[in-house]
């Protein structure tokens, strides 16, 4: 339908000028520039968007075009001669205005020649951006320090550098009627499940929206169900090595232009608890790190409601643990104290994100002194509350996925409130509801709590133990890989 609407390029250069003025606002919009030169007695116009083109290359090409008049005199063949003298490896010809304008707006230049009904498009893009840096949220002690940037071409390049496989596919789509954002879907053709890849493509192509300035998050919300779920339905990563290792396992990666994080599909709850660090240490240390992390995450969800339950029902504590519980109750019900302290921590977390660095020390001081000390002295909070809230908070900071840590906090508040109202019954039934909810979620057709429920013995063992890589010869089951082995089966092939 769009094809039929688009107007073919007119051979008259005046017409081109008029079209550009009316449709694109040349002259009005300061960033859309044009330059007109006369070559071989013909007017030649060059359109570009400043800020997106590499000026030095454009100047070099103009120089070549202008000098051309000194050697060439066949005026009739001007377009061919000009094409020949466009010294760049990526030159394309387009026949309609729409195509030309689209390309110019993405940073290419278009050259129109009087008397010729096509335009030359030359790729001289140079997007403003930073060079790869180590991502803040996924630091490792050892390992690669490069991270994805805001530039999709660089991002796919970073992955390609790690997988030089001819079967790695990077397919491009455009999303957004106005923003025309590039979305790239990456997968290994002979590993990723056909059904899954085509389903993902279908979902991306069905997005109809003006634009996706918030890039990956918006795309995620369009393609996934459970839109109200607090839990992250996909895993984000800014590390090319993490993305590459997931591709190898048969996952699908979505790159969205202007976002430094890529989307890994499909994802499970336990997938969000893994961290690149574990694979950089020896397997046993990796296992130890993973267990510690799992413990911290569990504490961040269950510790506060569990402790609250014992303050409400001290009789439930076994005799050995009878010392637990607030020695001084304080003036405010414990549940309110926990809620206050919890929300106070949230205040601090949010403030820490926005506080300019010079003020951060002052913020830390205020937080530590006010909440930590004075609150106890004036009798607002009891000291146990501070202790347990602090442990739970540290636990949530240990969670590798930031999205998951915030979601866990919400689950914790839910448990806290049902425990406060219904005591032991509330805690047990609340936990059951949470578990059943997690089980019922399917992120992109994948059970969220896999491999725990539904249980997969081998995958669960691989989560609980960080196996040495040579012993892990198969890909995870839940992505339904077409080719399950990552290493040749030694024992079998020898027998045959």
């Amino acid at each position: 339908m769009q094809k039929s609407k688009s107007k073919p390029i007119s051979p008259k250069i005046e017409e081109v000028t008029r079209y550009m003025k009316e449709r694109v606002g040349v002259g009005k919009s300061y960033d859309f520039g044009y330059r007109e030169v006369v070559i071989l007695k013909r007017k030649v116009q060059l359109y570009y968007v400043n800020g997106l083109v590499e000026s030095s290359i454009v100047v070099r090409m103009m120089q070549e075009l202008v000098n051309l008049a000194d050697h060439e005199f066949e005026y009739k063949k001007a377009p061919e001669i000009i094409e020949n003298r466009l010294i760049h490896e990526q030159v394309e010809k387009v026949k309609t205005y729409d195509e030309a304008v689209d390309q110019v707006l993405s940073g290419l230049i278009a050259i129109f020649v009087d008397g010729y009904d096509q335009a030359f498009i030359i790729d001289v893009r140079h997007y403003p951006g930073r060079s790869p840096e180590e991502p803040d949220t996924e630091r490792v002690i050892r390992g690669a320090r490069d991270g994805f940037t805001e530039n999709i071409v660089e991002n796919t390049g970073l992955t390609r550098r790690r997988i030089r496989d001819e079967r790695l596919r990077h397919e491009m789509f455009k999303v957004g009627e106005r923003s025309k954002t590039d979305v790239c879907i990456g997968y290994l053709q002979d590993v990723a499940d056909n059904d899954f890849v085509s389903y993902a493509k279908e979902r991306i192509q069905s997005i109809e929206v003006a634009g996706v300035p918030m890039a990956d998050k918006t795309v995620e919300e369009f393609i996934l169900g459970h839109k109200w779920s607090p839990l992250p339905m996909v895993r984000y990563t800014e590390r090319p090595d993490v993305a590459a290792s997931h591709l190898m396992d048969g996952h699908v990666i979505l790159y969205i232009d202007t976002s430094p994080s890529v989307i890994i599909l499909p994802t499970t709850f336990f997938n969000c608890l893994e961290h690149a660090e574990e694979y950089r240490q020896s397997p046993l240390i990796g296992t130890y790190i993973r267990w510690t992390r799992l413990l911290a995450v569990m504490l961040s969800i269950f510790l506060l409601p569990f402790w609250l339950l014992f303050t409400l029902e001290p009789a439930m504590l076994p005799d050995e643990l009878a010392f637990i519980g607030p020695n001084k109750e304080g003036n405010i019900p414990i549940v309110l104290q926990i809620l206050m302290a919890g929300i106070g921590v949230e205040f601090m977390r949010m403030a820490a994100v926005h506080t300019p660095t010079p003020l951060a020390t002052a913020l830390g001081l205020i937080a530590a002194v006010l909440i930590g000390d004075i609150a106890i002295q004036v009798g607002m909070l009891s000291s146990e509350v501070i202790l347990y809230v602090a442990i739970a908070t540290i636990g949530s900071y240990v969670t590798p996925s930031y999205e998951l840590s915030v979601a866990n906090k919400m689950l914790m508040f839910f448990l806290l409130i049902v425990t406060a109202i219904f005591k032991a019954d509330g805690f047990v039934v609340g936990t059951l509801i949470l578990l059943l909810y997690l089980i019922s979620i399917k992120a992109f057709r994948t059970p969220y709590l896999w491999p725990f429920i539904p249980f997969d013995a081998r995958a669960m063992a691989r989560f609980l133990m960080r196996y040495p890589v040579p012993y892990v010869n198969s890909r995870p089951n839940y992505v339904h890989p077409k080719n399950i082995y990552t290493q040749p089966l030694k024992t079998n092939s020898r027998n045959k």
Partner: protein
């Protein structure tokens, strides 16, 4: 030949029947361990040992940690039977609700139908309300663990077979 190797999926993995047994055993052991912690923290007044050992054994060791461990292992073995029942009845129902029903039925069996077998355990009318709620929740989540896992495994196998057929068809065409 290499191709053959890749097609024969899940080589080296136990068969479906074996996996069902593993699911049952792990489910029984894991959730009865959780049950023990619930007993320790007084959510429930009985633990697996009260039903499985103390009902017919009066030796002192049955009340200690050994009794707990042995009864947890016994639960695991009994649970294999539950897993097979679930496999025969529920494997085609790929939904967690099948598991919820399985768990609820198990709870009814243990606490009402089979109750006369263990007179030392309080009847449902004598039990504290927390115990009833907690044991019921535990059985439901256990049922989901077993029932849903088996249903998913079966569903997964279906997908694998589909992929296999597709591959064979492609191989024939080309």
């Amino acid at each position: 030949m290499n191709q053959e190797d890749h097609i024969s999926h899940r080589e080296g993995m136990p068969s479906l029947i074996g996996r069902v047994a593993i699911i049952g055993f792990v489910g029984g052991v894991f959730w009865s361990t959780i049950g023990f912690f619930m007993y320790y923290f007084n959510f429930v007044e009985i633990s697996a040992k009260s039903i499985l050992l103390r009902s017919w054994l009066r030796r002192p060791w049955t009340d200690g940690w050994l009794g707990e461990v042995i009864s947890i292992l016994m639960t695991g073995i009994l649970s294999i039977a539950v897993a097979y029942i679930s496999y025969f009845l529920l494997r085609k129902w790929y939904s967690m609700w099948g598991g919820v029903i399985l768990g609820a039925v198990c709870w009814l069996l243990v606490f009402i139908v089979l109750h006369p077998l263990y007179p030392n355990v309080p009847t449902i009318y004598e039990m504290q309300q927390e115990s009833i709620v907690s044991t019921f929740c535990l059985f439901v989540i256990y049922g989901v663990f077993v029932g849903y896992s088996i249903a998913y495994d079966y569903y997964d196998l279906q997908i694998k077979e589909m992929q296999l057929n597709e591959k064979k068809k492609n191989a024939k065409d080309s």
